[in-house]
Symmetry: C2
Subunit: 512 residues, 2 copies
């Protein structure tokens, strides 16, 4: 077809422009990474300006009318290609990104960004003073701006565009019934566990020297498959993973000497994100396709490694003897069963980030529902702390000691916006279970590998089915593709029932 | 004047544009710094592309016709202001930079940059195989391109534009007679020292554990005045200093466990560069004025601290007892006089970067003269190794064992170009001596401070006279301003004679 060959140079031009924009985006990421890892405090002011300038240039380059022109000219070429081919996917994903970018006026983005900084600072202060009223007016403005942002897009539910930013294809009409069902199943499970004799996890809270923790963590993530030739691990106050190219993926961790779980499980969590980014097909390098497809799929990969693998009995069959050898005084009298129970202890606690696998989703769904209620105008920011505490009382049976441990615990609403901030965490857990179930069904050898510290098979299957594709598939497309089914809560619930009935020696069948 | 007030918004617009370009330049520096300090090897390919993209954008933004327009519109405003005011200086320096940037076609810059990469790789290989002929054709091309680059500018001598890039205002007609005189004075001094009994510096080549070296070096540079709140020190294969803002200046070092001098003196050298960058007036932050004015003045600051201060007897009166305490087995039997002699040993060696203060300039002038001869067409690249060896025989009395220790020892010609590469090193030594002489004459307390480990006065005088001004003054303007005289070799020669007549117990008066 002559149309195709005519279009190819246009495709190359588009790709070339996108790579240059990507290079600017990466520079922003490097400046951010540097700021949180090694930058001296004196650099703070200029660094803020430098990042803002690069953002502005990247935005200008991407919303350039030439990009629109190229996308229009490439329509026929795109249609002539298989839907999931690299070329068609790049054009399709770029068109979606472009339409999203141009719908929002840049003055609005500047206003939002400025407000986010101010609101974040107010939150830091309000949180340290345990006084929600100090941040309330700012959060009210955030809510207004979030609603305004949504209004630039067509929607069925006002939260849909905000959810779509991070989890493309997910909507309130999909998530509300799904989460309702999830909550109904989880509440009785959490109840039954709460009535069982509590697990003693004091072994995790002894003194674990930092250097030894870092060394052990490093050996674990290397064994799991993190490629240190194509990445690094550094320390930061809050762990994160950042990709500067497929050959340079950086993860960070933090160490608490009196809490063994923190560094290790956050490292395994981040290695899940990092393997995803390291596993993207080199063919996609330098294009917008070269990253994890969305927040929920990304989180599914971190949670799969952190929880399904990293907190499994099989995993510790391999690693526990090594761990005992390194921390002899601390663990010599702790059996593998006791250790495995300790790292899986279920507690109804006020803080999401400390939560176990059973209660974690309950924390997330509380936030999701409050977000919807605020966006819908059914809940005012003024009444948010009360609504928060009521939800916690109802679903977790506790009331936070104060608003810093309650409604102000997470940065998301205060530093970003209201809407789309939390569903990815719960979805990640559901998707992880659904994908893992499908993979083990496909090749049961996976679990035997884990028990022998051999993660190659699992990693290869994930790479082949998920990692390599980058952004070619949306979350829903990928879930269908990999598991043959749409997203459902069943695999997660059955995973939780199996695992915790063993750990707590309970029978959930009666409540199911 | 109404012209002025009309122009002020234009000035702010110019400044704002320049700051954004500066932000791009800083991002490039951060990417470079990251590449040499922490980047995993897997990131190499993408990093090269990322830096090239940012360079391209920075160049585009700077050569934008709007910049020209603004500079034209600001002529009257500039003239209405004092010459060295920040505003007039920014316009003047930007105009010079702009004229330089637009004279060279961007296709030529791309060609040069591409060739530099290829030639650099050929040099790495040729050097490791000790075979100049492998890099010869590439260096021939470099010579051609260097001549072509010069041809875009008006000149008296073909090397002038290339020198002007890094040492604005310096020309062959200034440098050739200056260096001729310098060589005539230095050769007999080096000769007399060579005939004196050699110094035993074996104490420096014992085993000095790395961590202790780094700790001591850090305490020295902190004492000298490096502000760790506004900077860092990291390790790299080749030491350098990079400024990301006045509040974030980073220096690097390298440690050899069997050579005490390397890490310490390269750290003191780099701290000279770093103090300069940290000492620039905050008023200039984010503008093109916010950096050291040129290569020779920058080098004068690093050499002043490294040699005139760091290798002085007074400096070690303060630091030697500490050093002995840290390295007890190594230095317990080495007196301060023996140590001071060891760190000032003069040797006619084949390698520039290992050279002492007396012979260093001889190494540099050999290169300068060879550069001129090649650019003039009087020396072909084919004959360069022979000419190199002849010069070394004549001025240093030695012939390098092979071309890797001879003509291929420095990266400059192979990685950058021929012309303007070396004069800054010799000028730095001359300027350092001239400035230091003037400062001590102005306030002799400076030397007493050094003996007590108190560098505040020296640092303040340097800041006040040099650092704070950034690029407002050219090298020649600054030398005149600070010393009341034009550049001359006398202060350097008299410094060398005083210092080495003491160290070697000689009388140079007879040869002077």
């Amino acid at each position: 077809m002559s149309t195709i060959s005519l279009c190819e140079p246009k495709y190359l031009e588009l790709k070339n422009r996108l790579t240059q924009i990507q290079d600017l985006e990466v520079a922003i990421s490097v400046l951010n990474w540097d700021q949180t890892t090694y930058m001296p405090t004196g650099g703070t002011f200029a660094r803020g300006r430098q990042i803002a300038t690069l953002r502005k240039f990247a935005h200008e380059k991407f919303t350039d009318p030439n990009i629109y022109q190229l996308l229009e000219e490439l329509r026929a070429y795109e249609k002539s290609l298989p839907y999931y081919s690299t070329e068609a996917s790049l054009i399709r994903v770029t068109r979606r990104d472009y339409e999203r970018a141009v719908r929002v006026p840049s003055e609005f983005m500047a206003k939002l960004s400025q407000h986010q900084t101010v609101c974040y600072e107010a939150w830091v202060k309000a949180k340290s003073l345990k006084n929600f009223s100090l941040v309330q007016p700012y959060l009210e403005k955030t809510l207004e701006l979030s609603q305004e942002l949504a209004s630039f897009f067509p929607y069925k539910h006002i939260a849909d565009p905000l959810i779509d930013f991070v989890d493309e294809g997910m909507t309130v009409s999909i998530l509300r019934p799904l989460f309702k069902e999830l909550r109904q199943k989880l509440l009785p499970i959490a109840e039954v566990i709460a009535s069982a004799p509590p697990i003693d996890d004091s072994c995790l809270y002894q003194h674990y020297p930092k250097e030894k923790q870092l060394k052990f963590g490093r050996s674990v993530i290397e064994r799991i498959g993190f490629d240190f030739q194509r990445g690094r691990q550094d320390e930061t106050p809050h762990p994160f993973t950042s990709s500067f190219s497929i050959g340079d993926v950086r993860m960070t961790t933090r160490v608490y000497e009196n809490n063994f779980s923190e560094a290790l499980f956050s490292s395994i969590h981040e290695v899940g994100h990092a393997l995803y980014e390291q596993g993207i097909s080199p063919e996609l390098e330098g294009t917008p396709l070269a990253k994890g497809t969305c927040s929920s799929i990304h989180e599914s990969q971190s949670r799969l490694w952190e929880n399904i693998v990293g907190r499994s009995r099989g995993f510790w069959e391999y690693f526990y003897p090594q761990l005992q050898g390194i921390f002899l005084p601390q663990l010599s009298r702790v059996s593998i069963s006791e250790f495995h129970q300790a790292i899986n202890k279920v507690v109804k606690s006020p803080i999401r980030t400390d939560a176990d696998e059973v209660t974690y989703n309950l924390h997330v769904m509380i936030r999701f529902n409050l977000e919807l209620a605020m966006l819908e105008g059914k809940l005012s920011v003024k009444d948010l702390p009360e609504a928060w505490n009521e939800s916690y009382k109802k679903d977790l049976g506790i009331v936070p000691a104060n608003d810093s441990e309650g409604v102000m615990q997470d940065v998301h609403w205060y530093g970003e916006m209201i809407g789309g901030m939390f569903q990815g965490y719960a979805l990640g857990n559901l998707i992880a279970a659904q994908i893992y179930e499908a993979i083990v069904k496909f090749d049961p050898e996976v679990t035997f590998g884990i028990e022998r510290g051999n993660f190659t098979l699992l990693r290869q299957l994930l790479k082949q089915n998920i990692y390599q594709h980058g952004r070619k598939y949306t979350a829903n497309e990928l879930i269908n593709q990999v598991t043959g089914k749409s997203l459902s809560i069943e695999p997660f619930i059955s995973y939780i029932q199996d695992k915790y009935s063993n750990i707590y020696n309970l029978n959930f069948a009666i409540i199911a």
